[in-house]
């Protein structure tokens, strides 16, 4: 406790000193490449960066949970917004409400039913038969893990976003014997490659809309984006193998990585020139289905050469980590019945999302909130929004999750797999996990929205541009990472920074196609470290508070990828 208090005092002293840094900082930038309404000074940039570094230090170094780290970072953002970025109280108030609304209707609305579906499946004792069923597809644990974290999660991301891939695939991995921490890490890395062209290419379409690039430029940009995403995809496959068993697992997983990546990454690259909307879906489907074929090959129709006890990602009690004590019936459940809630989820998601007339009909029921325009003392304006955070309940992944959980409960109960009192245990377990996640998500999203609404995120991006000058192209994917880190969304990051990337490319006479592609690929990578996404994963597998441990791995992957993409962009110039 003493260490925490001293840290708190140090943190308070540092950010109270920040306004004085700003006053003393020079008003001259490294090179005024781009004009912005807020002066891009070292002081302002450091002030904007302080909450991010505070959050990361608390999570990664001091292993605070997301709730308390988010709360302290939120306090720092409020003070910095008021004293450095001249934010009036009404702007603070409106931004906070926007943050709470986004937290609930963008993320928490998925977290709650995802935890419920896990609780229902667990109460019914469905994970053990599920795990045994997977063994029949392939007894190779490495391929099983790739199947769920990379194939299935990538497929889900191709169909529906909203965090559903993480919320579903991570608990499934735990169900087959993966340690919860690694389940979250592996799924975060395994699904994010499909963020740009997945979910009917919403993130990609947002980039095109914001930048207004023509068809020819869009085709070139999509080609570059497809190439960068393929790099990401390959890295994801090898990272999963590396985590599983280092070089030995990479050798064992090499055929699967090559084949799956050819279909997912290579498919994305090819499809980028043909169809935006179906790109991520088709690439995701191909990558998932090929796993079943791989399971029959001589490479993977036998157990992994790495015994479970030697793999750091597996629970040591394998091969039967799930104690089926809670099942109400002695007769063992079959695999397909065990997977029933997820079949229902897939049927609802595919059936509604891909049937446009039905989707359009159901989409008419929606609710949103309006916000007035706000401004800061620097004149940074956040425009009026008449329909902020529109939630369409009948076509949202959260509704599909909830319906799957309810139907799954009814069926399991009818067949006797849920003992009397099961509903109470399910709800109790769900609430216990939901509550800490709720306050944590509110804190994290509120601070990121406040930073966005007061121009601090833009100051960060512009500052990077000013500091790097003609070499900014290397940093373009890092700006994409920053955008996704702050917003938790590839789409939102593209909306936030695509114009900036395009303008910067023109100023430094670089390829705007390459830099826009780097923006969206970097944003995809940034999703692996977005605190909201990490929190979603840790909550659904029951390790809330270990967000820092997840970030220690995913940050290396995200920043490493951004470095590779940045170097590639420099070569393209």
């Amino acid at each position: 406790m003493k260490k925490n208090v001293w840290f708190l005092i140090t943190a308070c002293s540092l950010f109270l000193a920040t306004p004085f840094l700003c006053l003393g900082a020079s008003s001259e930038g490294a090179g005024q490449l781009l004009e912005f309404i807020i002066p891009i000074t070292w002081g302002n940039w450091l002030a904007a960066f302080f909450p991010i570094i505070l959050l990361l230090v608390l999570l990664v170094k001091f292993r605070w949970g997301a709730a308390e780290a988010g709360a302290l970072a939120w306090f720092s953002v409020v003070l910095i917004s008021v004293f450095v970025f001249r934010t009036p109280m009404d702007t603070l108030a409106v931004s906070t409400v926007k943050g709470v609304w986004s937290a609930i209707f963008s993320i928490l609305i998925v977290v709650w039913p995802a935890i419920l579906i896990y609780a229902v499946t667990n109460e019914a004792g469905a994970f053990e038969p599920f795990r045994k069923g997977i063994e029949k597809i392939t007894p190779n644990r490495l391929l099983q893990i790739m199947a769920f974290s990379w194939g299935f999660a990538g497929f889900l991301q191709g169909v529906t976003g909203f965090g559903v891939p993480v919320a579903i695939a991570a608990p499934l991995l735990v169900g087959i014997g993966v340690r919860p921490l690694y389940a979250v890490i592996i799924v975060l890395i395994g699904h994010a490659w499909n963020n740009t062209f997945g979910t009917l290419a919403v993130a990609w379409l947002a980039l095109k809309e914001v930048t207004q690039i023509g068809p020819a430029d869009a085709a070139v940009t999509a080609l570059y984006a497809g190439g960068f995403i393929w790099i990401f995809n390959i890295v994801a496959g090898f990272t999963i193998c590396w985590l599983y068993g280092r070089m030995k697992a990479i050798k064992e997983g090499l055929p699967a990585v090559i084949i799956i990546s050819l279909l997912q990454g290579g498919g994305t690259l090819l499809l980028s020139q043909w169809n935006d909307n179906l790109n991520g879906f088709i690439a995701g489907v191909m990558g998932f289905l090929v796993v079943f074929a791989l399971g029959r090959t001589p490479w993977y129709n036998k157990p992994s050469s790495i015994p479970p006890e030697e793999s750091p990602v597996l629970i040591k009690e394998s091969p039967s980590p799930v104690k089926n004590k809670k099942a109400g019936k002695k007769e063992e459940m079959g695999f397909h019945l065990a997977f029933l809630p997820y079949y229902i989820l897939l049927a609802l998601t595919l059936g509604i999302s891909l049937t446009h007339p039905l989707k359009n009909f159901l989409a008419q029921w929606k609710w949103s909130i309006s916000f007035p325009a706000t401004t800061t003392g620097f004149g940074f304006v956040s425009p009026e929004v008449l329909t902020y955070g529109t939630f369409k309940p009948l076509i949202h992944g959260a509704t599909f999750l909830f319906a799957s959980a309810v139907i799954g409960y009814i069926v399991f109960k009818a067949k006797g797999y849920i003992k009397p009192g099961g509903m109470g245990r399910i709800l109790s377990s769900t609430i216990e996990k939901c509550v800490p996640a709720t306050i944590a998500m509110i804190a994290l999203v509120a601070l990121s929205v406040l930073m966005r609404e007061t121009g601090q995120v833009i100051v960060l991006a512009y500052g990077v541009g000013y500091a790097t000058g003609p070499y900014y192209a290397f940093m373009s994917p890092f700006v994409g990472v920053l955008g996704a880190f702050m917003t938790g969304s590839n789409t939102a990051a593209n909306i936030l920074f695509s114009n900036f990337q395009q303008t910067a490319a023109n100023v430094i006479d670089a390829s705007s196609a390459a830099m826009l592609a780097a923006q969206t690929a970097g944003a995809a990578a940034g999703n692996t470290i977005a605190p909201g996404n990490v929190l979603l994963g840790t909550t659904t597998v029951g390790i809330l508070g270990q967000e820092g441990d997840v970030l220690r791995v995913t940050m290396v992957v995200a920043l490493g990828l951004a470095t590779v993409i940045g170097l590639t962009v420099l070569l393209i110039l």
């Binding site: 308390e68 109280m89 009404d90 108030a93 667990n122 169900g175 629970i315 104690k323 216990e432």
Partner: protein, 71 residues
């Protein structure tokens, strides 16, 4: 339900409950209502920090299906 869980529930309700005040205050630029809303929101956030700084560390909870492993 333990004390920590009850305080977290309260913190969540405070944060959520303050938003109508912040919304109305922000729409009408009413300092009094904004201040009240912020006070409640800060109380919610402060409660989380209070729990971190002044409560005893607990063992991490695990889902039943992973055999009791924490991570």
């Amino acid at each position: 339900m333990n004390k920590k869980m009850k305080l977290l529930i309260l913190a969540s309700f405070l944060a959520l409950g303050s938003t109508p005040l912040l919304y109305v205050g922000g729409l009408n630029n009413n300092p009094g209502i904004i201040a009240a809303g912020f006070a409640i929101f800060c109380l919610g956030m402060g409660m989380v920090l209070f729990l971190k700084l002044f409560s005893k560390p607990e063992k991490a909870e695990t889902p039943p299906s992973d055999g009791g492993k924490t991570s």
